[in-house]
Symmetry: C2
Subunit: 260 residues, 2 copies
């Protein structure tokens, strides 16, 4: 399984293509609807590019499809035609395995969970990869691919992957919003955001060693009513932020009660 | 200002004492109400300890008071008696400068903002220190002290420090609760929490380079109603978590609208 076609030239395709080439896979073609994206990635990988699905070669071992969620179903139907021998895989975490069903016999999901950007090279040894496949044979092929990249592999069902996605919204997107709200309070009182970075780093570092519930600190988990009341009063000019402060504090105490 | 008495033997006193000794300050005494704490820290610093405020020596240059918020006022009154020549400083971020007023002429706040633990040595070059003082002379003394530790110094008023504390509740305590909620969803679907760590690290790392509002990703900031509705439906068994998902998503969109 050495000859790979990259279908898509976005952030995931770019990072995966570069990493796979480094461990001696051959990227035989890059496809993107837009010539700018296709040619840019093809140049980085010193390979050919095409902008029409019909022109994709028919003799690759693996077609790695990294297109947007909404485009995937249409691409799956078209790209499989006349290439029924090969293994087809998509990289979209929120899309089910079944998207390939009916079009082709050998298929799978290869979802590397990280925030990728085209400019920065990714260390795949630090990226967990979630795999699902049509049969154990394809599962092992995909496992071998991830192992070559040095990634840690997890087998998840499509249903588990859905919950993984919601969990990531909390642990990453909502976490970033907590940074936003903190930054806003600092800004409005003339304090630079950088002062918060050492604490933010330590908060992330701590959950490498402790379960998040054990790492919880602050007035809510201490049930320090005096501080909570003082903070709510200070936030009276920001009713939405005040409301979130109250509800998250309540959720922290509720979580603590449940653990007992 | 080389001879220092540590009033308190908790986490902050321990980390500060070790760091100050390393840059050649002399810790002449350690005080704690409890002998176990006092003797433990005194042993680490090879110095004397006392457990009565009356026995604290009268010829130190600086009395560094690192006791709990609730004990500070009482300690301030007692520890200043007969030592009116010296500089008195407390390390509690949430307590005002005024706590010293009336008791002594030279005083200040020296608040190193980090999560300290007695077991781990702290790199003070990565700890921001917030200073306030009775006059510019004391301010410069405290600035010099922080500079010797390699810390970045910020001058904040007592009022600014109060908002700094609320901001830290959002950026650190509430962030950790987002990890807790994510961890719970993963656990209930048989997924190990460790899979989330690379994304958590990257989320923290990103705000070193981008303002948090610019770093925001996820369905809420993309206004991706389909994903949000699907996620809310998946959370119907967890009404409290569902409620937080909805409100935080709304807050993200509200924040985005304001930026426009």
């Amino acid at each position: 399984m050495k000859r790979i076609v990259l279908v898509g030239a976005g952030r995931v395709a770019t990072c995966l293509g570069i990493a796979l080439q480094k461990v001696d896979y051959e990227i035989v073609q890059v496809y993107s609807r837009t010539e700018v994206s296709a040619s840019a990635l093809a140049r980085r990988l010193s390979t050919a590019y095409i902008t029409s699905l019909d022109e994709i070669c028919r003799d690759a071992d693996l077609y790695l499809v990294a297109v947007t969620d909404s485009a995937l179903e249409e691409v799956a139907e078209k790209v499989t035609k006349g290439r029924e021998h090969a293994l087809f895989v998509h990289t979209a975490g929120s899309m089910p395995l079944d998207v390939w069903k009916g079009w082709v016999r050998r298929y799978g999901v290869f979802y590397p969970m990280q925030t990728f950007s085209k400019e920065r090279e990714v260390d795949f040894s630090k990226v967990p990869v979630f795999i699902e496949a049509s049969s154990s044979e394809e599962w092992h092929d995909l496992h071998a691919l991830a192992a070559e990249l040095g990634s840690k592999v997890y087998g998840l069902t499509s249903d588990q992957r859905k919950y993984l996605h919601v969990a990531a919204v909390f642990a990453c997107n909502f976490t970033n919003h907590m940074y936003v709200l903190g930054a806003r309070l600092l800004e409005e009182h003339g304090i630079p955001f950088e002062v918060m970075l050492p604490l933010i780093d330590e908060t992330a570092r701590k959950v490498h060693e402790l379960a998040p519930a054990e790492a919880q600190t602050g007035p809510a988990v201490r049930c320090d009513e005096n501080v909570i009341i003082r903070h709510l009063a200070m936030l009276s000019d920001y009713p939405l932020v005040q409301d979130l402060y109250e509800r998250i504090s309540w959720s922290i105490r509720n979580q603590k009660t449940k653990e007992k």
